[in-house]
Symmetry: C3
Subunit: 253 residues, 3 copies
């Protein structure tokens, strides 16, 4: 199955570059630029407004929506409500990133209520998933969460674990620099949102996003001198990535 997944990821990346989907990102102010540049490098077209007046227009003309809870505020809460109504009515897929909910209970509550609203995929780290589901984020707990919420859980760390409850993957790609640069996880979720706009199988879309980011990260780290130079090289690697590289470098645990 691993070889098929890698091959399909290469196809999906080609599809992304051909279709150029619009990904609207309600995301935190710290990572907007990196997120936009990761999406552009992959072939998608980002937009980022969070104002109540405009969010409906942007969501309605988007092919996927990212809801990232970083730097959450009143404006973003309102924008999320409006955008989710639009995407539900129009059948546009959306993806949830519950950033740092382990640091703020009001944000964790918001994440729990959003998880009830049918995100296609939830991407977070183990600490954030623990705050979301209320227990340690072990593989079985994540399986149960995915089944209960009819979603895909993508739990990232040294090894990424993706589960739909029925299907599971463990991705071993990546590099330590990725944890030393702000917003890599946030941009990764945006990339997953781009993939879910061209792939109906949410499990496959999540895996594709994680593989592309992880492999591009490994390739970038080969010539980086630290986390600062790593960041532009990651963008270069995403822009240059092709199916052959994905098939050669994909590693499953």
């Amino acid at each position: 199955m691993s070889a098929e997944i890698a091959a399909r990821t290469g196809e999906l990346l080609a599809l992304l570059r051909e279709r150029r989907p619009r990904v609207h990102c309600i995301t935190n102010s710290v990572v907007q630029e990196l997120t936009a540049n990761v999406l552009l490098a992959a072939g998608a077209i980002p937009s980022m407004t969070t104002s109540a007046e405009e969010i409906g227009h942007f969501a309605a003309s988007a092919d996927a929506l990212l809801v990232n809870l970083g730097t959450m505020d009143g404006e973003r809460r309102e924008a999320i409500d409006i955008a989710l109504e639009v995407v539900r009515d129009d059948g546009i897929p959306w993806v949830l990133d519950p950033v740092f909910i382990d640091r703020s209970e009001p944000r964790a509550e918001l994440a729990r209520s959003l998880a009830m609203k049918e995100p296609r995929i939830v991407r977070a780290n183990a600490g954030e998933f623990a705050a979301l589901i209320g227990t340690d984020a072990g593989e079985e707990a994540l399986d149960k969460f995915a089944l209960d919420r009819i979603t895909v859980a993508a739990c990232t760390g040294a090894v990424d674990f993706v589960t739909s409850g029925a299907k599971r993957a463990r991705i071993a790609n990546g590099h330590a620099h990725m944890a030393q640069v702000t917003g890599i996880g946030c941009a990764e979720t945006a990339l997953i949102a781009a993939f879910v706009s061209v792939e109906d199988d949410e499990f496959m879309a999540a895996v594709a996003g994680l593989l592309v980011m992880g492999i591009a990260g490994e390739l970038a780290a080969q010539s980086a001198n630290g986390p600062g130079s790593f960041s532009p090289m990651l963008i270069d690697s995403i822009a240059a990535l092709d199916a052959a590289q994905i098939e050669r470098h994909a590693r499953f645990a």
Copy 2:
């Protein structure tokens, strides 16, 4: 005329570095850092606040004002109103960038009303100009818009077209990476605002900004490995650009 324009651009860049004008930017949260760094590299001093309480103070002590409509919200709308009143009273030039108005009708309406308030220059791409003027953004339509609004239209794309209605230029400089990095167009408009603070001829200021960005982009692309490494190299190229390079590389279509 082309040689004169290139020579004048070199002079204006030298003037910018000597005078160090303050450019206040009401701009979107995605591109603030790149915009600030482009302005600093060119010799200008950026400021970025958008709060109602402070915008009047910053606008009053600025040499030019940028109004960019990205990530528009209530705070930014109020800031624009206050800032435009200040710059009108004080004769400070301002420049309009109607980002993504083709994606949001409320934003397009705002742009149309702002275009009535005597921006010295409007910089946008063809899709945004079409939303602004209500027809395809052909050269004649842009000429008419410039004449009607007593402004300069700078329509950027593979070839940039600049018109005051009376004077016209077509600039062929630039590189494909510039469309793959978020905020290059926004930063370009900020650069135009810097030039209009040292050049009374708005047509010349717009052309100078586009030439500097386009040529710096070409030089940066020579050593970039992709859109990620392109971005810091673009800043380096702007900081290092001199009159001889501008005269050697300027290309008009």
Copy 3:
């Protein structure tokens, strides 16, 4: 004393990497990404929310707080009030950066009132300190300010001057590129906040932050081609900096 200060700075940097303190940053939207990446490179864990609902939770679980007055708005004012109450009650150190208060009188007033609330350190340039204390920011005026407010004043420029009123240091490290990149000063204050979370002696914490940034800047400038490539290399240099480099390169004036 200089050798001792350099040696202690090396120890504190090692401590920072070991303890990984959480630094909550109420800072302006332009510099959030750079600030976060500088903190991560040094070993600290940044968070950035400014919403009233969440700031208390983030401040309470932080090891230090940065209050930077850039892009000040109503939300940030409210967040500052809440956060300062939390950190005062919990004995969490906080640091003030009165960005650009020389451009806006309401912001200068805010800075003056915040300076009364026992920041451990105030970091600013000479123009900002002049607006804060109401006279030229000469060394004696800064000594008096530090004594009156029971704080440490860190005035950065070609040579940085740090004073507690009793202890003084003049640091000559740094590079011209640091003034050409937006947010370097802001990130420097964040770094000082990280150091004050692992060093009770505020004077020493301020000096350590300035030495680390100044030396890393010099090392980065050796291979940079301009302010654009300087910025990622600065992050690389901070991440790679060790005690031996600090002791070799520290220069006091």
